[in-house]
Symmetry: C2
Subunit: 963 residues, 2 copies
């Protein structure tokens, strides 16, 4: 194959470089960059479409269609005016409704830098509850639209995460690799901010990866002076009540002198805490600029009257600007910047106000989002593998667009975060469900095309509550299993059935071990569950045939006595004979054992009525009113089952907490399937439910949590790496987000927990690891959502029941990654259906991050080295992939290397270089943050290398660097 | 003199007739005229300038500058769009701030009828508490600006009183005489509205004068369907929460079908209660269109989608329109209309919700407004009489503009009405006081120029509380008295002094009777008051010299006993020997006597907590919780004084109600000076204080009140002339506004009460007449003002003390007008300082309504026949005025006849003709509503005749027609 740029990719893009449009500044003065902006939540108190249209203004006055109408109108009035727009999900909706004349006007404004896109993803994603795969997808969706619509002038240079409640290092890493030159945000710990203001460290260089060679993941990062709001007294939006500039001397209350004086005071005060002679002010806020005239009319006057003072010797210069113009000036200042290597979690805005509740809020939505992510990947892949007949085929018109957009919206920082109103949470879920509709058609079409079988397929959506009418009633059925991973993985399958014994056969007709056992508390018609393990080929599907052998009750009734232990060839778990709780875990291969006890507890959520602070727990904020959680039950009831496929101990902790401890025959991890809810609140106490593992591992205050499912960061109790923490909330102040895994370890033992969704967790005592599973609260936490977090149950009342699994692994620390990396991927990218798309499995270290139809003639592929530097002796090493031979149904005719966001040719991507105060780093121009192969394919080998592209393509190599 | 049009008057006006710009309609369909409009209160919850700038949006979101910015912007986007603007006081502020380019755009929009001025006065005046002179002035101020700025295309054709709380017949008469073709309003009695809807009488011809020959005061009048709001569910302003039209099928909640269906239902329902195939909908409301895009974008869609149904047979046609275009279509319908001859007072919007409290609310503001009106007339006149040196003279730069604008603003229906927030009431008063500043300078300049004396003049502003440092401390001083009336009038003067005896001499040096007597409860240094009567020449000033003869306490100490009677040569008053209250009144000239008792009472204001209704009394609404008022005191304390000038009986009813019964030597009326306040509310009861006169006059349920100080209307208890009243509030439902006078009569006796401000009053029992003087309330009445009406006292706390006078006259009915007409004028136009401007006094029937500098070379004069038809045998007759010889300092070189609003040549004024259902009337074109002479003068002879203009000028005649 020859390296060439796929011409189709350029469709709609312009590569004419426009002259820099940044406004002039005054070198000898303090330059105040006024940045008009709006912050448009892609759903929060209203649904995304309610926000777009300005519907339900009784809930919140906000209408994005009008914001864009108005801003475009006002920008035309004066070429000096600037505006930035952030959320492409909204902009896309608006653009579709504009006529050619308006599109032309907007394009010109973009070309001239008067309207600038910033961030540019579909939404401004949450950083604590998102998985990196979905973040990359949502960014790509937005950036692609901008690229195809506006070309280079529409490409964001600055990441703008002004609202998310804490900042993940992985997000910074992704932004760096997507070619962004800087990141600005608004929220960080109040102690951190105070220190940074004192030491002028509000702006810094963030080194956002342990694995990637600097400056690959280095990102200039600025903390905005006032969140993302204008200075007090200078908010001129229709949503604000600040006095307008009243400059007509014939009318009452002429206030120009007062306004100018107050503004100069603000500007001077701000310049005291920043390094350069440039400062930035965010002139806007949530859903502002619906009537942009108010803002611009007063800003025009402000600039005029403040700058008029220059003739009297004032040294303050105001200008309309944008974050990228401001960033350019910082870069031109040619100074050094402090280096940051940890992250910005947890976020507290006051001593008792830790935003660590939302790490867990709405656990069911968080799981549904993760499941949907897996479905989107499957949908994407089968669209590629099945070819054109996937979109329009035997079962009608299918597609991945709705699912992609629904997932992109769900990444918003008030979506998967769980901090939206209930009706909006329902809307997100509805969108995901609706998105899955066309994907189901697409998958059916694709499977039909690939398998040649036109049998209609049934999707059982309620397996989580053991409901599937087909399997419950059919004496004979087949099951397709699709594996979206590049490796073969074994998944357990549990199907609701009414028979006692079934024959299960794989695609070759070989029998598969299976067992049927009683369903406890079944919701549907099924009294039993049929259990077996399946394996599908890499990036392909297989078919299992199941036929009823015997009807009636399950062959082995449940035992009401607890076993003292369960084990397979890899693991042994023991239980306390008195309490029936877990007591130890052993890895039989490595012959290591730890003491391990586990129970469920609830923190009593603060009602906001104690002396220290009026802050209650809410959707955002976790604040227990005591550091000692209440135990659900010291003694539990159990029953158990054991058959050829698995051993289960079912633990009953009380009417609203149960758990199944499950060990499959061939599994190296222990599965704990927890069920929590409806959490009772009849006692007037809000409850935040955790499970806690207590071990004899000597953790010395350390524990580990992942960042957006990618790299893992070390955490230390009551400690922050960059400032002398004054801990004011011993529990909530030690909580961190867990997106896919957390672990504790000492030199011998590492206990890793892999989660099936994002959750909050901590290690409050040495040897202990706790994970918050569910929350039900009685008070709003006064951060705007205006509702207590109390999700209704299935009947619209009561409380929501949440169910999930934690996978436990015990290994030596140096072998932990070999297990948890593939395990977490298989949890995140779960299976669905046979045709081997890959000629061969990918090497174990490589994850097929993206396989997605780009347009009719090209495909986007991202390959990822899934291990972190040094974490695995076996796999944290360069690895070779034969890209050409990878796909059986694709003829690869060319490849183009792209940025991570797929909105730029990699070799055209340049980023600003920054000096740190320690003199580190400072490469002039960053080459090859990532590799992106495009063939009839645009592909990316992520976390790979910066080797010359052509060489790699010809060599078909994708080595991991610096590992 | 030759009749000619003063060329200066045409300055800035355009007389090019533009083609009619009304949109096309569909003759075979129901045409729905959608009228985009904003209703911008010239002060209410915020001050007028706060509203203009959009300041204090915490109180109410409203910014008129942005409304006009936005509407002009949006009108440019589509020539089909229309907008009407009403309040010239606001438009003027905005216009001044616009550059030439914007002015050009706006002028073009006006020329094309896309922006249409409606009503066009400085404000939308109140109808219950205003005096006709001030209404004409404020209308003239606004219309003049429109005329000079936009010429004919800016001239309003329609009066638009959508918000005032009841409608005065005199207002309709004024509008007719100003050349308006129609009046639309929103508020009328709910029973009246229900009946009119049933009988399709929502639109009518209002015959608004008993005196003027029809159709001179005939005015087409329409009741709007929904107040001035859009139909429920179709409000798309940023202040509304109705669902926008969501017409993108790719987004959630597509609602076009639902919206169209609902709209068609509304339109059909509305067409059921109107006569023609045209209906009007007011698409806007208070301070709407600040972001006009929201409205127009959705209206565009509404029109598009509803009219699209025509292709499926729908017979409903939507169009952007204006009231004048709608009116034109009604006129074209060539049908007949019901005739209305009474007025629309009182206004009730529910059974217990009578808006009759504001007739009296804020009595001190109402008096200050009336006093300011007098000052403005004086200022206007002296500006003319003193020539150029008035504006810029010995005492600096003076002017009448501020006073004129302050008075214009004070006419607003939330200004003099008393229905504004307290801080806004203060602002109105402040403006009036500030306006008086330049007028004082002008008056001083003018007097200096006219008299040749450059002595500095002191204005004693606190005579109402017996404070004037100059008179209190000077042993010798002079006093100028200016008489703004065209006739000589005698006024009593009371000056605070500390001497016992003074010599008072008139301008010729002749001594004048005077007396000094003790001040009760004096506030300043003065212990005595010097009393004498003054007379100034018509439209001129005179000087009195006062010198101290003897210091010390007053010569005649107060008597602590009540006299049994007081009398002069005209009147005799007797007092009850037991209660000391008034017992009879006699006219000694006509030898008639009536029993007359008087006392003060208070109605207990409803707190809104009774079973019938939750409506409390408030700034707007009067609702006593019992029909029986509480008496202040059955027995009173008195003292009295009698001297050469007057006799006084001072009555003490209690700690917060006192009265002085005063009879001057040469007076035909009895003066009752009441002082009420601070009204105590410590008992938790709101109080509405009245005084009531009970007589033996056989009134048979009838009583009489004036309309805006001009014509008098008959009232009948528990009765409305146009529908079968169901009386639900026996007190409040019988209250009517009294602007200058009220009377009761039988065939022999008429008791007339002349008031010094607007008040509410009624006759609840035969022979009885009550007037509400003051109100202090504890609850808001839920009509938006959001404050209980409880005015603070001087110290900002406590309650406000109000003081005023009622003048009582007893006459035969047929002679009453001869007394009350000049009396009311002298009360309204009180005196201020010598130089006879008039060569001769005007005939008694003629009032010099306006003498005001128009521009450097012309003067506006309005002459008015002040009598109503048939009310006076002596004066309700044609009268001749020698205009040429009237003014001593003016050389009259030409005169032009104008409309009453002075915005149009009278001979160019044409109005639409209308047919009534009884077949009455219907003159094709109305000629000469009024006469308007312009010389170096633009003059108007109002309530005069429609004789040919030139003839009148040569004949110098101004006869009253139809009297």
């Amino acid at each position: 194959i020859r390296f060439k740029r796929a011409s189709v990719f350029q469709q709609g893009t312009k590569v004419i470089k426009k002259p820099k449009s940044c406004p002039g500044t005054q070198p000898s003065m303090l330059n105040v960059h006024l940045v008009p902006h709006t912050h448009d939540d892609v759903g929060w108190l209203k649904t995304v479409d309610q926000y777009y249209y300005g519907d339900r203004n009784d809930i919140q006055h906000a209408g994005v269609q009008y914001i864009l109408d108005s801003v475009v109108e006002q920008l035309q009035k004066d070429p000096a005016r600037r505006f930035i727009y952030v959320e492409t999900g909204f902009f896309y909706r608006w653009w579709r409704q504009q006529d050619q004349a308006m599109r032309h006007i907007v394009t010109q404004l973009v070309d001239e830098g008067r309207l600038e896109f910033i961030n540019g993803g579909w939404c401004m994603s949450d950083e604590a509850a998102t998985h990196y795969t979905a973040v990359i997808d949502q960014m790509t969706l937005g950036l692609r639209f901008l690229n195809e619509t506006f070309g280079e002038c529409g490409r964001p240079r600055v990441a703008w995460h002004i609202d998310p409640f804490g900042h993940a290092r992985e997000h910074a890493s992704i932004f760096a690799q997507m070619g962004y030159d800087g990141l600005f945000f608004g929220r960080l710990d109040y102690q951190d901010k105070a220190r940074r203001m004192k030491t002028k460290e509000m702006e810094m260089l963030w080194r956002a990866s342990d694995s990637l060679t600097p400056p690959m993941a280095d990102l200039f990062t600025g903390v905005l002076p006032n969140g993302y709001n204008p200075p007090d007294g200078f908010c001129w939006d229709q949503l604000c009540n600040d006095a307008p500039i009243r400059d007509d001397p014939q009318l009452e209350d002429f206030n120009v002198d007062d306004i100018v004086k107050r503004f100069l005071n603000v500007a001077h005060a701000q310049s005291e805490v920043y390094k350069t002679t440039h400062i930035i002010m965010t002139m806007g806020s949530d859903f502002q600029y619906e009537n942009a005239n108010l803002w611009y009319k007063n800003l025009d006057k402000l600039i005029h009257y403040v700058n008029a003072k220059q003739s009297n010797g004032s040294k303050v210069n105001l200008l309309y600007s944008t974050p990228s113009c401001y960033l350019q000036e910082l870069h031109n200042a040619n100074t050094t910047w402090p280096l940051k290597t940890d992250d910005f979690f947890p976020y507290a805005d006051d001593a008792h106000d830790f935003w660590t509740g939302y790490f867990t809020s709405r656990p069911a939505l968080k799981r549904y989002e993760r499941l949907s992510n897996s479905r989107l990947q499957t949908c994407n892949q089968l669209e590629v593998l099945g070819g054109r007949r996937s979109r329009k085929g035997l079962f009608g018109e299918g597609g991945s667009d709705s699912m992609r957009e629904a997932m992109a919206v769900a990444q918003h920082h008030d979506a998967v975060s769980g901090t939206e109103k209930q009706h909006v949470a329902f809307d997100y879920a509805k969108r995901l469900a609706a998105g899955w509709g066309p994907c189901q058609v697409l998958v059916s079409n694709s499977l039909a095309a690939l398998s040649g079988s036109d049998a209609p397929r049934v999707y059982c959506e309620n397996l989580n509550i053991s409901v599937c009418p087909l399997t419950e009633s059919s004496p004979k059925f087949t099951m397709n299993v699709y594996n979206p991973l590049g490796h073969a993985v074994m998944w357990p399958v549990r199907l609701p059935v009414n028979g006692t014994a079934y024959g299960v056969f794989d695609a070759k007709g070989s029998p598969v071990d299976s067992a049927s056992r009683e369903v406890r508390g079944h919701k549907g018609y099924a009294i039993n569950e049929l259990v077996f393990q399946v394996q599908a080929p890499p990036l392909g599907f297989t078919t299992y045939s199941i036929s009823l052998l015997q009807n009636g009750p399950p062959p082995t009734p449940l035992e009401n006595k607890a076993p003292l232990s369960i084990q397979n060839k890899f693991l042994k778990v023991t239980f306390d004979p008195d309490t029936y709780l877990l007591s130890s875990l052993s890895n039989l291969e490595t012959k290591q054992t730890i003491k391990l006890s586990q129970n469920f507890y609830w923190y009593n959520a603060s009602a906001g009525n104690n002396a220290e602070s009026r802050q209650p727990s809410g959707a955002y904020i976790f604040r227990p009113n005591s550091s000692t959680p209440f135990i659900i039950s010291k003694m539990i009831k159990v029953d158990s089952v054991k058959n050829a496929v698995l051993q289960e101990v079912r633990q009953w902790f009380g009417p609203w907490v149960t758990q199944v401890v499950r060990l499959y025959k061939d599994s190296r991890q222990l599965e704990l399937e927890w069920t929590v809810g409806p959490v009772p609140v009849g006692d007037g106490l809000g409850k935040e439910v955790i499970t806690r593992f207590d071990t004899n591992i000597r953790t010395s205050g350390l524990f580990y949590t992942d960042s957006n499912g990618r790299e893992v960061l070390e955490r230390r109790r009551d400690y922050r790496p960059t400032w002398d923490l004054k801990q004011t909330e011993p529990i909530a102040g030690n909580y961190y987000p867990i997106n896919s895994r957390a672990y504790i370890k000492d030199k011998d033992n590492q206990l890793t927990v892999v989660t099936d969704r994002s959750q909050g967790g901590s290690s409050i005592a040495d040897g202990s690891l706790e994970i918050m599973l569910h929350r039900r609260l009685l008070y709003d936490d006064v951060r705007g959502v205006g509702e207590p977090l109390s999700e209704p149950g299935e009947d619209g009342q009561g409380g929501l029941v949440a169910r999930g699994t934690l996978l436990l692994a015990l290994t030596p620390p140096e072998k932990a990654a070999d297990l948890h990396r593939p395990l977490a991927q298989s949890v995140t990218w779960s299976s669905l259906r046979l045709f081997s798309g890959l000629h061969a499995a990918l090497p174990p270290a490589v994850h097929l991050l993206t396989l997605s139809q780009w347009d009719r003639e090209s495909v986007l592929i991202r390959l990822e080295h899934q291990y972190q530097a040094k974490e695995s002796k076996s796999f944290s090493e360069p690895v070779t992939v034969n890209l050409q031979k990878l796909f059986s149904t694709l003829e690869i005719v060319g490849a183009t290397e792209m940025s991570l966001g797929a909105n730029q040719w990699k070799d055209q991507m340049t980023r600003l270089d920054w000096k740190t105060s320690s003199g580190e780093c400072g490469g002039k121009k960053i080459e090859g943050i990532s590799l992106h192969y495009s063939i009839k394919i645009q592909a990316l080998c992520w976390h790979c290398a910066d080797h010359p592209l052509e060489e790699q393509i010809y060599n078909e190599l994708c080595p991991v660097t610096n590992l």
